[in-house]
């Protein structure tokens, strides 16, 4: 036992015996810290910090047992168990894993999407924005529930197929018509790209975020779910109960929008010059 501890401490002392080894050891600890912290925050966001305990125990057992030549089976099992538990965490939280991976490679993608070239003139886009604002305001006054997704880039086919393709020129009255409670398409989301209404009555993925306000209904959850998955998309929601206008972007919802704020955010998403300038300030 004494020999074990003697060897243990001499190994640690060896890691600090030369200046370059000290730097490497510090880098090693910092890299491990970053990995542990990222994993801990991932689990915290998913309200699963309890799982972290099992992961920590599994990793310590795996480290200790994998160094025991006398127990080769247990050593291998413990090592595999650790990796299986780690893999299980990422499978269990597939949506978050996908979102994180998508953000890793497309952190600036949504900004590129805002500078996209549309087939229509700037004037047409400004007219489209004013029509959207007008329709949203009108529906807010009448307490008509609405969910509008502004998608500057491609709209996923699966979502379009869940609704009805329209591909019509945008107008305030058409938007209001689609969300009229007696219309068959009023229950889903309307997708807008440029000055065209691409589809209506589309079903969106609901967010799994459990920390959201309980006041937010299915329509708001669908908007958050959609913008969590597609960074470039912007969702405008009109509450059926209160008429409050909310905007969701990149998985975050901001409530109580007025026409000026809505106009500003739409100009930004449409990549119009004035809005881009103000955004750069």
């Amino acid at each position: 036992m004494a020999e074990f501890f003697k060897g243990f401490f001499s190994n640690i002392a060896g890691a600090f015996s030369q200046p370059h080894l000290i730097i490497l050891s510090i880098l090693d600890i910092v890299a491990t810290f970053i990995i542990v912290y990222a994993l801990l925050m991932f689990l915290k966001r998913n309200n699963a910090t309890r799982l972290f305990r099992y992961l920590a125990i599994a990793s310590v057992v795996a480290i200790i047992l994998s160094n025991r030549p006398q127990m080769p089976v247990m050593g291998k099992l413990a090592t595999y168990f650790f990796f299986v538990v780690l893999l299980g965490v990422f499978i269990l939280y597939t949506d978050d894993t996908k979102r994180i991976l998508r953000r890793l490679y497309s952190s600036k993608e949504y900004q590129k999407a805002y500078n996209i070239q549309y087939d229509c003139s700037e004037e047409d886009l400004r007219e489209a924005i004013s029509d959207i604002v007008k329709a949203v305001q009108s529906m807010s006054k009448k307490n008509t529930g609405a969910l509008i997704i502004i998608a500057p880039d491609n709209i996923p086919e699966a979502i379009i197929e869940s609704g009805t393709t329209i591909d019509a020129n945008l107008s305030a009255s058409l938007i209001e018509c689609l969300f009229s409670t007696k219309a068959p398409l009023h229950d889903g989301a309307v997708f807008i790209r440029g000055n065209k209404i691409m589809a209506a009555g589309c079903f969106l993925p609901l967010t799994q975020n459990t920390t959201l306000d309980k006041e937010l209904g299915t329509r708001h959850r669908a908007a958050i779910g959609e913008t969590e998955q597609y960074d470039s998309h912007l969702a405008i929601i009109v509450s059926e109960e209160t008429g409050v206008i909310s905007v969701a972007r990149r998985g975050e919802i901001v409530r109580y929008y007025d026409s000026v704020m809505l106009n500003e955010v739409l100009e930004q998403v449409y990549g119009l010059k004035g809005a881009l300038k103000s955004n750069r300030k």
Binding site: G7, F8, F9, N11, I12, A15, S25, D28, I29, V30, T32, F33, I35, V36, Y37, L40, M41, K44, A56, S59, V60, I63, I64, N67
Partner: protein
């Protein structure tokens, strides 16, 4: 003209300052408990692995 230039620079400086303050806050204050626990675990794992002679 001159005063305009100065005011722009001041605005840029204050923007940079607030960004720097936000960065410091994010690194040293935000989630400090989780960061300390992660650091302790990282050091523990490092000692365990190096001590056992991997």
């Amino acid at each position: 003209m001159q005063s305009n230039k100065v005011s722009t620079k001041n605005t840029e400086n204050s923007n940079n300052n607030s960004k720097f303050k936000k960065f410091l806050y994010n690194v040293f204050v935000k989630n400090i408990g989780y960061k300390l626990v992660s650091l302790a675990i990282a050091i523990f794992i490092w000692i365990l692995i190096v001590g056992l002679g991997f």
